[in-house]
């Protein structure tokens, strides 16, 4: 055929039919493409817009009570394409699609098709709806497209009016060509009481915690704005991309907690796990397959759900209560998850699971099941003390990280550098803290030296980094 765009569209059609054949009897498949001409659809601006629309669609699905669905998003030669499998019938899925196209602020830029099991399609005409109107002139869109009634720049302008800014990821409002605003960590001072109780507010607090952790520096061995630490495969940009992809999921975890109607909190875990797997897929899609936040999806997702659950029950949201609720949700997880490990193929194990087999340590699961003792008992008090003493947020977070280095049997470190790695983590952080940590010149020099040594040894305390983000999250709650 020779035309990559047309080949990509045929491949997408084949993929849709394949996914539709795999649907259960009551299931349906939505597919998303951009309703823009090819030159605007492909490339970076189209990719960003497609990703934004796809995330918005999944949120719309959750808000409509249809659940997050199972999805995939990819970039083809024809532009971005997203697939979403829902456990509802074709008519209901099409209603969601029409509501999104017509009701969502950016919906006019989305082209959503609904397919039932076996490939049956349901169009507007079958539902007695009017055909879509043209983005530019409001006439019947199909006629304008087939007749090439409007020029590229005319269509681009119409899209940009709709987005309220340049073509690209929705929500970026900077004038095109202008320098990106510098990232700041906001004013100094304690966070206590910053987090609201709605699911959205909880999700936003989680995103703030993720970004605050990534932005704090210097973090020995870890990725920060000016260093990749011990990592070759990721940088600060990977973390921001991952955080952006995960943002809507934290709200979802909070919602799942708030909407939980069961008696025992551990009945909530299966739905959290299902959402977590979806979130993980979105993370991998956003980072190009790099694991930036897998452990954090588990533990921070859990804290979001615990917060939502407490808020839904009208209980006071406090750091300790939130951590205890998280522990109740995962009660028994170590025993259950680690029971069948010995018989499994090594390649199918997570790093936490391999650690368990090798050393008997429980990693993130044990930390969660214990109610995050190293956070509640050590890093959170240190962060609060640092902030009260007048340290900036970044500096206070680094001190809290040093405290975690001394407390935690970090599974990432153990897996890569063995017990000597853990020993180095402990001794070097104790020394830096002994010199006064980030509050003193000598302490800061010691941290800088750690940074170099960890990078050279490829020692990356990723488990501690996750716990630091949890610390930042819980710091928004009182006591």
């Amino acid at each position: 055929m020779g035309n990559p765009l047309l080949e990509a569209r045929e491949a997408r059609w084949a993929r849709r039919l394949e996914l539709a054949r795999g649907l259960g009897a009551g299931g349906s498949l939505l597919s998303l493409t951009l309703r823009l001409p090819a030159p605007l659809r492909v490339g970076r601006e189209g990719a960003g817009l497609g990703q934004g629309l796809y995330a918005a669609l999944r949120r719309a699905s959750i808000d409509a009570g249809l659940g997050p669905g199972r999805g995939e998003f990819r970039l083809s030669a024809d532009g971005p394409e997203g697939y979403l499998e829902l456990d509802v019938g074709l008519a209901e899925a099409k209603e969601l699609a029409l509501g999104f196209e017509e009701g969502h602020p950016w919906g006019e830029l989305a082209d959503l098709d609904a397919m039932g099991p076996g490939g049956s399609v349901l169009g507007r005409a079958e539902l007695g709806r009017r055909p879509r109107s043209c983005l530019v002139c409001g006439a019947e869109a199909a006629a304008c497209v087939a007749g090439r009634s409007h020029g590229l720049e005319e269509i681009r302008r119409a899209a940009e009016v709709l987005l309220g800014g340049p073509l690209g990821p929705p929500g970026t409002r900077a004038a095109s060509g202008a320098a990106a605003p510098e990232l700041t960590l906001g004013p100094r001072g304690p966070w206590a009481g910053a987090m609201g109780e709605s699911s959205r507010a909880i999700g936003e607090a989680a995103l703030r915690a993720l970004v605050a952790e990534a932005a704090a520096e210097p973090k020995p061995g870890l990725v920060s704005p000016s260093s990749r630490g011990a990592h070759l495969d990721m940088d600060y940009g990977s973390f921001l991309a991952s955080a952006a992809a995960l943002a809507p999921w934290f709200e979802t975890f909070a919602r799942l907690g708030r909407g939980f109607g069961g008696r025992e909190p551990d009945e909530l875990l299966p739905s959290l796990r299902a959402a977590g797997l979806e979130a993980e897929r979105d993370m991998l899609a956003a980072t190009g397959g790099v694991n930036t936040h897998k452990g954090l999806i588990f533990s921070l997702g859990l804290l979001c759900a615990a917060s939502g659950l407490l808020a839904g029950r009208g209980e006071r949201l406090e750091a300790g209560a939130c951590a205890r609720m998280a522990a109740r949700i995962v009660r028994g997880i170590c025993e259950r998850d680690f029971a069948g490990l010995a018989g499994r193929e090594a390649a199918t194990l997570s790093s936490g699971e391999r650690l368990r087999l090798g050393s008997g340590l429980g990693g993130a699961r044990a930390e969660a099941e214990g109610g995050f003792p190293s956070v509640v008992g050590a890093s959170l008090p240190r962060l609060r003390a640092g902030l009260s003493a007048g340290l900036g947020r970044g500096e206070a977070l680094v001190d809290a990280l040093l405290v975690l280095f001394g407390q935690v049997e970090d599974s990432n470190v153990l897996a890569r550098c063995g017990p000597e790695g853990l020993e180095l983590l402990r001794s070097s952080s104790a020394r830096a803290l002994g010199l006064g940590g980030m509050a003193t010149e000598a302490g800061r020099e010691a941290v800088a030296a750690m940074n170099e040594e960890f990078a050279a040894r490829r020692l990356s305390p990723g488990g501690c980094a996750d716990l630091l983000a949890l610390t930042a999250f819980l710091a928004e709650l009182p006591g």
Partner: protein, 88 residues
């Protein structure tokens, strides 16, 4: 060129067209056209299909065109591909 097997090209997505070709015992090519822009472009679609059938010398086939508002260049490419696949 006689059609020797079933072939499909394209998709039912917006701005695309699905061309389905089946061998038939008739010598002539029978043509069936559906389009969401039949009123404006139905005649044009038929004309393009007839032109390509003549140009490729296709015979012994029934050709179904389900148009979702494709550009003419897309329609041509899908028709050429379906014919090539049916006669290869």
């Amino acid at each position: 060129m006689k059609a020797i097997k079933d072939s499909v090209a394209g998709s039912l997505e917006s701005s695309d067209v699905l061309v389905t070709l089946r061998p038939s015992s008739e010598a002539a090519v029978s043509l069936q056209v559906e389009s969401i822009v039949m009123k404006q472009y139905g005649r044009r679609i038929t004309a393009v299909a007839e032109e390509l059938v003549a140009a490729t010398g296709l015979s012994g086939a029934s050709l179904r065109i389900q148009d979702r508002g494709a550009l003419e260049c897309t329609l041509r490419a899908r028709l050429e591909t379906a014919i090539a696949r049916a006669t290869a």
